[in-house]
């Protein structure tokens, strides 16, 4: 978790949050992960900071001292500022998420959330913003062909079910990053509330069994209390 993001560390993350305690916690967490964090507490400050420091990513609270921050994000988008926006919000309503994404947000995290969840989302968004769509993905010994729907680890072809293929593709797109259970459920199955059962773990377990045969080291490792990570460096 302590690996410093390589290509975005020169650009700061902009946190627009009016609750001082929440802002401090998020800032501490992100700083401990090696990010540079700017903080704004009002919409005006947020707009100004976004124009001046061209942040790699914005983390925006939906409610800023009583007013809705959707208009701020809309204004930024109109000005052509394309930095990804992660909304954090106490508004859990079904429609609020849709409204947030429509206004130009890229992800929506409902309070309360675990810091690990926030960190994983931030990382995923940063990675997504500079990634080109490809039909052939290669991560370490892993290789998948999105058109032929085939997967290989080294020389060995992996015989995967469609669901497992989908999961592996997801892990490879976000390799080296923490993937939370919530992210997997939301992105792969449109499932927005956390079930009590260890669904994701079962899926990942099945994938692992097929990937790691004959004492091969497991490429997907568990991140305690948060989720999983595809980590190909382990093999070397």
């Amino acid at each position: 978790m302590l690996d410093i993001p390589n290509d975005n560390n020169n650009k700061p993350l902009l946190l627009v949050e009016d609750e001082a305690d929440m802002a401090r916690e998020i800032e501490n967490e992100l700083r401990s992960l090696g990010y540079c964090v700017e903080i704004a507490t009002t919409e005006e400050e947020g707009l100004h900071a976004a124009r001046v420091c061209s942040p790699a990513l914005l983390i925006v609270d939906r409610m800023l001292s009583g007013s809705d921050s959707l208009s701020m994000v809309e204004a930024l988008r109109e000005e052509g500022i394309r930095s990804p926006v992660l909304f954090v919000s106490g508004l859990a309503a079904v429609d609020e998420r849709i409204r947030g994404l429509k206004a130009g947000g890229d992800d929506y995290l409902t309070k309360p959330f675990a810091m690990g969840e926030l960190a994983a989302r931030v990382e995923a968004l940063l990675r997504r913003s500079n990634e080109a769509p490809a039909t052939l993905l290669r991560v370490g010994p892993l290789e998948i062909d999105l058109i032929a729907r085939s997967a290989r680890r080294g020389d060995r072809t992996l015989d995967l079910l469609p669901t497992e293929f989908k999961l592996l593709e997801y892990f490879m797109r976000y390799s080296g990053q923490t993937i939370t259970r919530k992210m997997v459920l939301e992105d792969l199955w449109h499932y927005r509330s956390l079930p009590q059962t260890n669904l994701v773990d079962v899926h990942v377990g099945n994938l692992r069994r097929k990937m790691d045969v004959g004492g091969q080291p497991s490429l997907i490792r568990s991140v305690r209390g948060v989720g999983f990570m595809l980590d190909v460096d382990l093999e070397n």
Binding site: A92, A93, V94, D95, I98, T110, P112, A114, L161, P162, T163, L185, W189, H190, Y191, R192, S193, L194, P195, Q196, T197, L199, V202, H203, G205, N206, G225
Partner: protein
């Protein structure tokens, strides 16, 4: 307070009744005037014609005959309205009741209206008289006339009738307006008192209705229905708050005790394990609260803006996909039957959640080696999703209760879960116009989600 300021003549009822009375009075007056005008016109024309004919006939008679006629006419005129006179060619009166030929009267055989001295014995004044004069062959002049007082008398009668009619009807209008507006004001005052009472927080108060089915009653009943709905919503908000408070209290208490004990013991291992335990509890509490808020949001918010046309089969396939490995792990035969696409209007993610919750339940309650079947098909034109299993089933007396929040059957109390799954599924189904019910099934339980008949 604005109640006391209701002024009688400012009430709508009063104004309306006065306005209508005035309108009716005006129309009556117009009709009377028209009748009067018509009668006078016809009467005058008739008089004109008769006089002109009589004078034309008179000039052809012999002088003695004419003198007798004139005298007879005057004798017979009991009402003293007729004028008749015969003048010689020098203008001297031969016989009759007009002293001299009026200077203003042209002798042309046409009728003219001129002023003459009244023939009445009581008042000798100048009155309007319709007169015709015609010269005979011997140069003498025959004059015939009729006092127009009859016409004026008629006019008088009409005017008096108008006055007699209009004044009482105006009076009546005022009285009726007063009575009606007094009644309306009384009712409005009663309604206002209730409204103020309701505004002060007595939400059990209702506006009075009189069973009259009039407009005030209609409005009153509508407002009462609105108040019922408001009270219902307030109760719901309160119950959501109560539920959350209830679900927070005991885990928070447990957490507090655990942390306190760890702090007292002082060992860092204890502290660590307690903190971890507390974190787990906190996560569960957060999940529960989030689920409760989501349920109440879906239940009462009626948010349907994200709805679009989606395929129910895709929804089921998605949820099926998600739970496949879990079923495999329990060696449950897990099948999906979805022969053809099922288009419905809804929110994909929410429906996935509903179906997933049902599947989650089915797999949870079905013992290893059993079966769970997900079927999505069209039955008599309606989309139906059925999830059946070979678990312990739902006892018939529990069938209503299981959809309520946090219901755990005695038979399944030992299994993990926060007890909101079925409630969530049922709420989502309701939002989409689906009914979720327990269907009959040979063994185990079957949950059926079917589109409700359009009301």
């Amino acid at each position: 307070m604005w109640i006391s300021k209701i002024k009688l003549w400012k009430t709508a009822t009063f104004r309306v009744s006065v306005f209508f009375s005035l309108a009716i009075t005006a129309v009556t007056a117009v009709v009377l005037v028209f009748v009067y005008w018509q009668v006078v016109k016809r009467d005058t024309a008739h008089q004109n014609r008769v006089l002109a004919e009589e004078v034309a006939r008179g000039v052809n008679q012999t002088l003695p005959q004419l003198t007798r006629e004139v005298d007879l006419r005057i004798t017979r005129d009991l009402r003293a309205i007729d004028y008749a006179a015969l003048f010689d060619s020098g203008g001297k009166l031969l016989s009759g009741n007009v002293d001299a030929l009026p200077a203003a009267l042209p002798i042309d055989g046409e009728t003219h209206t001129i002023g003459l001295i009244s023939r009445s014995n009581i008042r000798r004044e100048t009155v309007s008289v319709l007169v015709v004069a015609r010269r005979r062959q011997d140069g003498s002049v025959l004059l015939l006339g009729r006092n127009l007082s009859e016409v004026y008398a008629f006019r008088q009668i009409v005017l008096e009738a108008l006055a007699l009619g209009v004044v009482p009807s105006l009076l009546l209008a005022f009285i009726v307006g007063t009575i009606f507006s007094l009644r309306a004001t009384k009712r409005l005052k009663a309604i206002n008192r209730k409204i103020i009472s309701i505004m002060q927080g007595n939400l059990t108060e209702r506006l009075p209705t009189h069973g009259l089915n009039d407009d005030l009653d209609h409005v009153g009943r509508a407002v009462n229905l609105m108040l019922d709905e408001i009270v219902r919503l307030l109760d719901q908000i309160k119950s959501v708050g109560d539920n959350i408070a209830h679900d927070l209290r005991s885990p928070l208490a447990v957490m507090r005790i655990g942390l306190e004990r760890a702090l007292d013991n002082g060992s860092s291992d204890d502290l660590r394990s307690s903190a971890e335990k507390a974190l787990g509890t906190l996560d569960r509490v957060m999940t529960t609260v989030a689920a409760l808020l989501r349920i109440s949001d879906i239940e009462y918010g009626r948010r349907t803006s994200g709805f679009k046309t989606i395929d129910l089969v895709e929804v089921c396939a998605n949820a099926f996909d998600l739970y496949q490995p879990l079923a495999d792990a329990k060696r449950i035969v897990f099948t999906l039957i979805a022969p053809e696409p099922l288009q419905v209007h809804g929110d994909f993610d929410l429906l996935v959640e509903a179906v997933a919750n049902l599947i989650d339940n089915a797999i949870k309650f079905t013992p290893a080696g059993g079966f769970v079947e997900v079927a999505a098909k069209s039955e008599s034109g309606k989309p139906v999703v059925r999830i059946s299993d070979s678990g312990p089933g739902v006892a018939s007396q529990e069938r209503g209760a299981i959809f309520k929040r946090r219901y755990r059957s005695d038979a399944t109390r030992h299994l993990p879960g926060i007890g909101l799954g079925l409630h969530m599924a049922s709420t989502i189904a309701q939002l989409h116009g689906f009914d979720l019910c327990v269907a009959d099934c040979r063994e185990g339980a079957a949950f059926e989600m079917s589109l409700r008949d359009a009301a």
